[in-house]
Subunit: 378 residues, 4 copies
């Protein structure tokens, strides 16, 4: 596979997610960082660039400039990684799409349904690949579950219980630091906090694992920690097309939960329990009640999922590998685009379409909550 | 402590709960079974009586007869244990109360709010003790949590996530046997199945552990397994007086869950996680994020809770001991009544008042569900 | 089944194990306590007797007197329960056997191999039943494993890792109380502490679960906590007949372990992991590496084991039920003796023969350790 | 920090460990692979080189040639990574040391005590840094434990139970593939299999975490799986200087264990339990018996350990990050060497001295086993 070149928007000093994207891409050494607009001033941007070995000439003061300049270079970037605060996702992604450059954007995709639909339209029209980095669906075990259920091995899904509690924002001011500050600030995160940050992961995880489509939601979004202006605890009742039901919970003050995304899926022929913090295993209960635990790297994992593993079982792969798996498929597809061998069924990563589903979900929830916790169709 | 005498209504062949009550009472040998109306015919009743060493003269064909006859004896029973299907609870309890006999009744207390209020009134008027056997709150760890929170050590409770999934009724007909049959039959269980059987335990557990009072509920009660006519999967949104929120889930088709009552309580100063299937431990997370696990029998358990332990730590106490703890307090109070030393603060068991709260909760949920999942005040 | 009568030697105030035996027998109400020699003075003995509802005339000042008197009564006890400190086991058991009374004795059976062989001889000659209460082998899951392995489903056993650490005696004086005092006192416990108290459970558990017979041992028995004169940490290498190997560890200062008997069995066709503190489940790994967890009360448990369950799965049965299961088989056999229907294959409890194996094991270990950790044949 | 250049010996097609080293180094992008002798023929070597982006001119047919050539280049490699089968470690390491090039070598360091002492001597004489990649000690939690114990917070260590079972070689031929083949082949692995592969990790983990020095060992090394000629199940009794004791177990046929290195340390003031498969957490039990679980990324982790974390808590770091942490310190020290700022206390990775301890440990065990499981001084 040809090693590609990429540029990054965001990811300056203090950015957790930018550094994490870079490390994830590094693991398999499939792409090199060659350009960036890491911060809002050229000086700070070049400083970060210097630390990362990026040519100062390819450090840009704005993403608009970067998109144009890179599109004009013969050796311009193959794709752009957008890891700014949520409020800038739309404009940055749009700039690269319009310049004909493939995009990887962190979730949530953008702030409004209109923005989301615009990005979908642009990517589709231009024939560009668009990865939305719902990290957790890159796990081998997540891919295993998706295939297992898609093959009908769990029977019809009856109900889904999914949750994503964290505890790091249990106190205003004291905890959270920079990361907490922008998430709780409407100006940077959009008009939603916890549900945008965590709830979109839940929505995507359930959709990805089960293939279910949300029909309508009833949301209760609460602002609990004193001093907050945006939601920090949300419970969502869900009805899916076909009759299955679900319940999602996200929280930012659930002390004791680090990053506790869990999905429990109950079908006619058994159940599946999955927990991202213990993502090396999956628990499957058969119709007869036998509890079976399978580990990444051992037998019994679906081949298409197992293929993503790098290490033998018991040699823990974690968050970076999971993100790396998204990039592995994305970069494989980009290479195939170059070779002319690309076909859409090669896509094994969340796309702009999935990102748009997340935005629609959030907005239906906001509406339900605003109207007194009533059902709202998606 | 004086050994008391008791009689039982229900608990004939095939009854799980009747045998379980008897075994629980046996452990500490604080009461002897001396009378019963175990089945609906005298012959079957005497057959069970013979197996249990009960004098045939004190085996009765009806609970009305039993109440009268025992009340008339000088050596009549000290208390009656009612373990029939739900539909008969009210009449049986009423008969004994009217006869001036203390009562222990399995949950749910009865079918309607009117019945519940009637039993409360009767017990209060007659000054009789009335135990409703919400078994799980007898656990040492449950008593520990209640004291811990009541003392303010968790700060103000912010949200509660509680659930009680089971999987044994995942298929109609195949699973469940007699136990399943009556629960799913409106004629025997009243107009509610899963929420009455499991949801009332959740309601009582949260109320007992946190001291919170339910203000209003929004319930989604679903009938999922083909062939069922009553609810078998319920999600309830809860608002408590004082502003805290909660979410309860119960299910009977969640394959892989045996009897999985769990309560997670998130407060300002930490969290508590409790799971009845691992009731020998309690997990407490402090404000600083340190995860602390305490075991029954070890240091750090509140004294008033630890006093109920019978065995050293690591020598598992389970369901029967938990039920036995309810009876231990109940019988202690009955003895105190006899001695004239009884005071209400001695009561350390769920009473008819708690049972009535459960019935009100169920009816508010039924109303919410019938009206399209809207908020209903309690 | 006819309810039997029993007497107890030991079990006075402060005795954990005497009370535990009584509670275990109570659960299923299969025998009534009618006689006892609970303490060393008649006065204290009658005091305990009064609390337990035992006729003062059947409270005895010595077990010799008790054995003679009860043997002479037409309504004499059906069996005697010996729960004194270890040093008195032999004499007490011998007295009842000689009087023709069946015996249940706590482990370890006695202090010397000669004593053990004498008790075996006596019981066999007299045709008396003799239960040695290795409690943990009463668990349903333990019985399941024994049957599973006996049926060859694990293939040939290759190695066994078993351990039983506790932490309650980590400090001299401070911890342990009366229970600790007699165990650490050579005059009361015999010349061995940790290995006698815990190591015999490990030996019996492995022998029971796997059917393996110990060929030789290499023991390292250490005295670690300052002030101790007997072993408090032991590691034993084991070779079994047929070539399998094992390693046993017991400790009394392993802080954090309550009562942590675990056995891990590795066979040609899979592995089994069992932990008495979580005795409601058993983990079995098949040849293909699939990890399977089975719960008491669910399908997949061997019928002969499942039959001992009293409650549905998820309604925890613990230590008392396990001990109760030993008594259930013992009392069933005693009843069969009375009926003339007894056959030796009905015995489903550890006997005096198993107890004697434990004593031989301890003495081989003591010899190995005394000689510098060399191999000693059993 | 300046990005360095490295070369690799071994790590051709089918090599697990070579690829793992490369990925680990990639994560933090602190060094670039620029030279290699990946296989035994130049052709195969260049083929791998091409895939890895290495200049064909710097692909070598032998490590001797590579050492000389790279030492002669102005832009020669900063360090060499040796990841061949064990039998070649000594000669390869020696070649680079003699050429004045720093070395990273996978464990076990080499085959004989003489070889080990030679490498120690060479590295010390030349003033070269020498990393031996005992991966697991790179974990943040491992570093935390080391500091915690070194600071005396656990009191004097009393006993250590450590184990490293795997199950992947439970059957000859069927399982294991290439990786299994060379480990079980005396010609490639040296005269030891399981103890060299896994036992050295156990020895190093205990030494690193506790600071204890082994005084003598008593080893039982068994050959169990039919067809094997080298040990596949080992139990080692250990006495440390200062009086503490230990017991180590390693196995390759323990079905159900993937890569299950665990260390349990029992001190006067508490216990520590650590399990590399769940390396994001550490369990610490205080003198009072409180069980405390701490997670990487949360408070309560020693600062010098926490500094190695890359992601927030709950965003799992695994095996590659752990190995990466070793390289982070190694490369930091190499940079300091260049800058002239290096001091020996900067070394926070296992060195050739630690590697030599491992070789001595293995040889003492081999001698103990050969002489009938007797004590052998180190």
């Amino acid at each position: 596979m040809k090693k590609l070149n990429y540029g990054m928007v965001g990811g300056g000093p203090g950015s957790f997610i930018g550094d994490a994207h870079r490390k994830s891409i590094n693991i398999d050494a499939m792409a090199t960082l060659v350009a960036g607009c890491f911060s809002r001033t050229l000086e700070k941007c070049q400083q970060t660039g210097a630390e990362l070995g990026v040519d100062p000439a390819r450090c840009y003061a704005s993403f608009e400039e970067m998109a144009k300049a890179e599109a004009a270079r013969e050796d311009g970037i193959d794709f752009a990684v957008v890891v700014t605060p949520n409020v800038s996702h739309y404009a940055a992604c749009k700039a690269f799409l319009e310049a004909g450059i493939h995009v990887s954007c962190d979730k949530p995709l953008c702030l409004t349904v209109e923005q989301a639909e615009d990005l979908v339209r642009l990517a589709d029209e231009k024939g560009l690949l668009f990865l939305v980095t719902y990290t957790y669906m890159g796990h081998v075990t997540a891919k295993h579950i998706r295939k297992f259920i898609a093959d009908g091995k769990l029977g019809k899904v009856r109900t889904v219980m999914a949750e994503y509690p964290q505890g790091w924002l249990a106190y205003e001011g004291e905890w959270g630091g920079t990361q907490g500050a922008w998430r709780c600030d409407p100006a940077q995160s959009g008009g939603v906090n916890c549900l945008g940050d965590l709830g979109t992961h839940v929505e995507n995880a359930v959709a990805t694992l089960t293939g279910l489509k949300v029909k309508r939601v009833l949301a209760k979004m609460d602002i609990v920690v004193p001093g907050r202006v945006l939601d920090d605890n949300d419970v969502i009742l869900v009805e899916y097309e076909g009759g299955a039901t679900g319940c999602y919970w996200t929280s930012q003050f659930a002390i004791g939960h680090d990053n506790d995304l869990r999905v429990r899926i109950y079908g006619e022929d058994g159940s599946i329990l999955w927990k991202q913090e213990e993502c090396e295993k999956v628990t499957m209960i058969s119709r007869e009640g036998t509890i079976i635990e399978r580990h990444r790297g051992n037998g019994g994992i679906e081949d298409c999922a197992a293929a993503y593993g790098r290490l033998p079982s018991g040699h823990t792969e974690g968050w970076l590998e999971s993100m790396g798996n998204l990039y592995k498929s994305f970069i494989t597809c980009l290479n195939a685009k170059k070779d002319g061998t690309f076909t859409p069924d090669m896509i094994d990563f969340p796309t702009v379409h999935d990102g748009a589903e997340g935005v629609k979900f959030v907005h239906a929830c906001l509406k339900s909550n605003a109207n007194g916790n009533v059902w709202v169709d998606l």
